[in-house]
């Protein structure tokens, strides 16, 4: 062997795997774990389990697949099944066609339209899809503004709002932002060097996009696309409002409300919806597995931006203008409708009035109050649960802590309709403790349904926030004498505040427009929240004005909420960036 000359001074790096905060699992952690598990079991797993179980047993209680045979034996159900599947797939496709070019434009090119696209990304989301459907009917419907103009000028009409095509149209417009937002985030994380080395090796233009950039952004695209599929497949409000009943969700709703909570076919439909939701999310997760490329290196730049040529600008702005016009249509429509005295068979309303708003504030103030009550409580519960689960997962070594994440995230695959059916079935005849009131007649159940359905969003938000808080910030508190609970209260939660608030707002605004669970769980009119109010108003021609006014209020509430949640996230980024800088 040659004489080795060893010179020390290898660069510092945390060589050993960082142990999580505490050496042992405290009683408090177990207690929190138990409580959360009990909550998830009682209000998510067992109700959904009941639904699945009911779909597989006959009257005598023995297992059977007879209900499924019965289901597929009937033409209307077969048709509903294929309609739902077709609409969901088509909506995902059209949403992709809208979203992918927009995402590419924002990330790759330097132009003023980027701000517009940012706005595009949120605009559709702040309007409940079933409200948008009504408004789009007025603009693009058979006798809506656009077709009236087309008929006058060119002598033909486009029946884009009819039947399944109409549902697909409304859903694509409403849900494309899920793909846009996820894809933009994924593309922003691609290191510019990835592109540069591809350029360096001779790939350009379309081939560069197809072979390097899109594959790298694939996880983001798939996450968004799977979400769109699931949302459309499970949506109840939009088809109902548009009068389309030959789809799965409306069929399940009609069976349960007309035939009764014991009708097995409603459960069969529920199981099919859960099955396809899980399948879609699982497929996306499976394809993405091991491919979560966050390639942005320390000190690396993002993808290079370049200027658009004149021709490209025309194309880009043209596309943006088109999408923006269509996306804004429901907002404009609903606004006009809320001020319209009469609006029928005309391009614009004939006369304007404020009467609808007066009606809404007179009649529906209870609904606004209900929405605030349910959604504040549900969102509050979500962030408490979300923070606790995030902490248990990221900062303790509880053996089964990952289960909490899986269980809570499972709610993503459960349609509101199915959860509501599960509640009705599970709590049938059960009284609220110490009273003679039925559980299913209590508004608390509505609130809990909201909370369970929105928990995955709040949980993601809280997890992201906690990941930003370096473990040493908490350990420093402990080494200075703060107990686990005290360090959480004085250090961890304040530093997570931005993310927690964002989670709260997301839960709040999405719960405020939840319709499917609401439709089934509201037992008296005095319990109705705004979302149900809008739906009920919209059922009659006379109620459309007040319905629209209530819709505008909902959009304003949701819009403001979205704006503030963005602000919170931005602010928390500023505070935590100082701690990560020190951690570099």
């Amino acid at each position: 062997m040659t004489a080795s000359t060893v010179s020390p001074g290898s660069p510092a790096s945390p060589g050993t795997p960082r142990a999580l905060a505490g050496p042992r699992i405290g009683l408090g952690a177990w207690l929190a774990f138990g409580l959360i598990l009990a909550f998830l079991l009682l209000f998510l797993i067992v109700p959904v389990g009941t639904v699945i179980y009911t779909a597989f047993v006959n009257e005598t209680g023995s297992l059977t697949v007879g209900h499924f045979a019965n289901f597929f034996g009937q033409l209307v159900f077969r048709e509903s099944f294929f309609n739902s599947l077709g609409v969901a797939l088509a909506s995902t496709l059209f949403a992709s066609i809208i979203a992918v070019p927009l995402a590419y434009l924002t990330v790759r090119f330097e132009f003023r339209g980027a701000v517009l696209i940012q706005t595009l990304g949120v605009l559709p989301l702040i309007m409940p899809p079933f409200v948008g459907a009504v408004a789009l009917q007025l603009i693009f419907g058979r006798s809506g503004s656009v077709n009236l103009l087309l008929d006058d000028w060119l002598g033909f009409t486009i029946p884009i709002m009819d039947g399944l095509v109409g549902v697909t149209f409304v859903e694509s417009i409403h849900y494309f932002p899920f793909i846009l937002l996820n894809l933009v985030a994924a593309m922003r994380n691609i290191d510019g060097a990835m592109e540069e080395s591809a350029l360096n090796l001779g790939a350009r233009g379309w081939r560069l996009f197809r072979r390097v950039i899109f594959p790298l952004a694939m996880p983001g695209y798939l996450a968004g696309a799977a979400l769109v599929f699931v949302k459309v497949f499970d949506d109840l409000g939009t088809p109902l409002v548009m009068g389309v009943t030959n789809m799965l969700a409306p069929q399940a709703y009609l069976r349960i409300t007309s035939v009764g909570v014991d009708d097995p076919l409603g459960y069969v439909i529920s199981v099919i919806m859960i099955g396809f939701s899980i399948l879609a999310l699982w497929l996306a997760a499976r394809v993405m597995k091991g491919r979560d490329y966050a390639t942005l290196q320390k000190g690396g730049g993002a993808l290079q931006k370049r200027r658009l040529s004149a021709w490209e600008s025309v194309l880009a702005y043209g596309w943006i203008a088109l999408v923006l016009a269509v996306t804004l249509a429901p907002h404009v429509g609903i606004l006009l409708m809320s001020f319209a005295q009469v609006w029928s068979f005309s391009v614009l309303p004939d006369a304007y009035t404020l009467a609808h708003y007066a009606t809404v504030f007179g009649d529906a103030s209870g609904m606004i109050g209900n929405t605030l009550l349910y959604c504040v409580l549900a969102a509050g519960l979500d962030v408490v649960l979300g923070t606790a689960i995030a902490y248990l997962i990221l900062r303790t070594r509880l053996p089964a802590r990952q289960w909490l994440d899986w269980l809570a995230s499972a709610a993503l695959a459960i349609p509101g309709l199915v959860l509501a059916i599960g509640y009705l079935r599970l709590f049938k005849g059960v009284h609220v403790p110490f009273t003679d009131k039925l559980v299913i007649h209590s508004w608390v159940l509505i609130m809990l349904a909201y909370a369970v359905r929105r928990l995955p969003y709040a949980l993601r938000s809280c997890m992201a926030a906690l990941q930003q808080v370096h473990v040493s910030l908490e350990e420093a508190a402990q080494s200075l004498g703060a107990s686990r609970l005290s360090s959480i209260r004085r250090v961890v939660v304040p530093l997570m505040a931005g993310g927690i608030l964002a989670g709260f707002v997301t839960s709040f605004i999405t719960a405020a427009v939840e319709l499917s669970a609401t439709l089934l769980l509201v037992s008296t009119e005095s319990q109705a929240p705004m979302s149900l109010g809008i739906y009920l108003y919209m059922q009659s021609i006379a109620g459309r004005g007040p319905g629209a006014a209530l819709g505008v209020l909902a959009v304003v509430v949701v819009g403001l909420g979205t704006y503030f949640s963005h602000r919170f996230v931005e602010r928390s980024r500023v505070t935590t960036s100082t701690s990560t800088k020190a951690g570099a």
Binding site: T5, G9, A19, E475, A476, Q478, L480, A482, S579
Partner: protein, 361 residues
């Protein structure tokens, strides 16, 4: 002021089946400034975190002033730790950061005010109390972290790579300040570093760790002059390490057969030595270098070689010289006007056998 001793007895720790610390035995005296030195992955940070209570050893005892604190949770240990990234809370002012531990101890408002002020004055940041950590420089942040820790009057002060986030000039200055602060407070202090120069210039004594095993404990000079094994010889300072066989030991000396070089006759060893594999360690400055025609003395062993490369470092020049199949480093003090040997030049290397150290581990 608190002056506690620390003792590790047979401490072992593994993550799953990966051993991280193996049977660590260590005693640190009250008031000592002690360094844990080792490359990344050696287990030094794990050991420090274990003392703070953030890692739990599976075997062994951890004694502070003779009392086993193994099961005590971190917040009850009264052991202060300054983190590598300082871990200042960005949502609190400098004052609130420093006051944190006192608030946890439910001290009175007046007492907190006095102690926080004194601690900030001690680190020279009395005027910065109302600032946020983000408004401070790296060195200032480090001082806040120090103030925050010493204000609770810990029994032990732990520093995790305290200087690694500072640039070079600041590092030397902070090193002095840390040393002075430790002398003033008399706190038993343990710090972790991968930088042997930092450890040698700052610590009273140090422990060298590698692969979870404690290699040697001692003062800087002891480790440098009398390394007990190959690793310590190579890690503390720079060394030429020549592997070979002890072929014969007699009263007059011993024969050492260096692989691919040949036999060397060495003076008798201080401790009894058996034949077998061993390593010869010698520092580059102990290898003198002369032109082949220059006079040589009989005190040294002389080897003929050829210069491979030369690095001019100012105070001295470092030559890499090929001797047979080996390459040896030789440092020569530099004086103005003395020309360097050019690469390729034939030279003779002189080794003083009394300066050699024979390692059997």
């Amino acid at each position: 002021m608190n002056k506690a001793s620390l003792e590790c007895r047979h401490i072992s720790l593994s993550y799953g089946s990966t051993p991280v610390l193996r049977d660590i035995n260590l005693k640190i005296e009250p008031g000592e400034f002690f360094a844990l030195l080792g490359p990344s992955g050696s287990g030094k940070s794990t050991l420090l975190r274990l003392i703070a209570g953030f890692n739990q050893h599976q075997r062994g005892e951890l004694l502070v002033d003779g009392q086993d604190i193994s099961g005590v949770p971190p917040h009850l240990r009264q052991i202060g730790m300054v983190f590598q990234n300082y871990a200042l809370w960005p949502h609190m002012t400098v004052w609130d950061n420093v006051a944190f531990g006192l608030v946890e101890r439910r001290e009175s408002r007046d007492a907190i005010g006095g102690k926080v002020g004194a601690a900030l004055d001690l680190v020279g940041l009395g005027d910065y109390a109302r600032r946020r950590p983000a408004q401070l420089s790296g060195g200032q942040q480090q001082r806040v972290a120090l103030a925050r820790t010493i204000v609770i009057e810990p029994k032990l002060l732990l520093l995790d790579e305290p200087l690694s986030n500072l640039d070079k000039n600041l590092r030397v200055q902070m090193r002095e300040e840390l040393k002075n602060l430790q002398r003033t407070l008399g706190l038993t202090t343990i710090f972790v570093t991968h930088d042997q120069e930092e450890a040698m210039t700052t610590a009273d004594r140090m422990a060298v760790l590698d692969q979870g095993i404690l290699q040697q404990v001692g003062s800087a000079a002891e480790l440098y002059d009398y390394p007990q094994n190959r690793f310590v010889a190579g890690f503390v300072g720079t060394a030429n390490l020549l592997d070979g066989q002890v072929t014969a030991v007699d009263a007059g000396g011993l024969d050492f057969e260096v692989h691919r070089l040949g036999a060397l006759r060495l003076p008798p060893p201080a401790e009894p030595l058996a034949s077998g594999a061993a390593t010869l360690a010698l520092r580059p400055h102990q290898v003198s270098i002369v032109a082949p025609q220059d006079a040589t003395d009989a005190l040294r062993l002389w080897l003929d070689g050829q210069v491979e490369s030369a690095e001019f470092l100012g105070e001295f020049s470092r030559y890499r010289v090929r001797v047979g199949e080996l390459a040896l480093l030789s440092d020569q003090p530099h004086f103005a006007g003395v020309p360097l040997f050019a690469p390729g030049a034939p030279v003779r290397l002189g080794i003083d056998p009394r300066q050699l150290r024979l390692l059997t581990a």
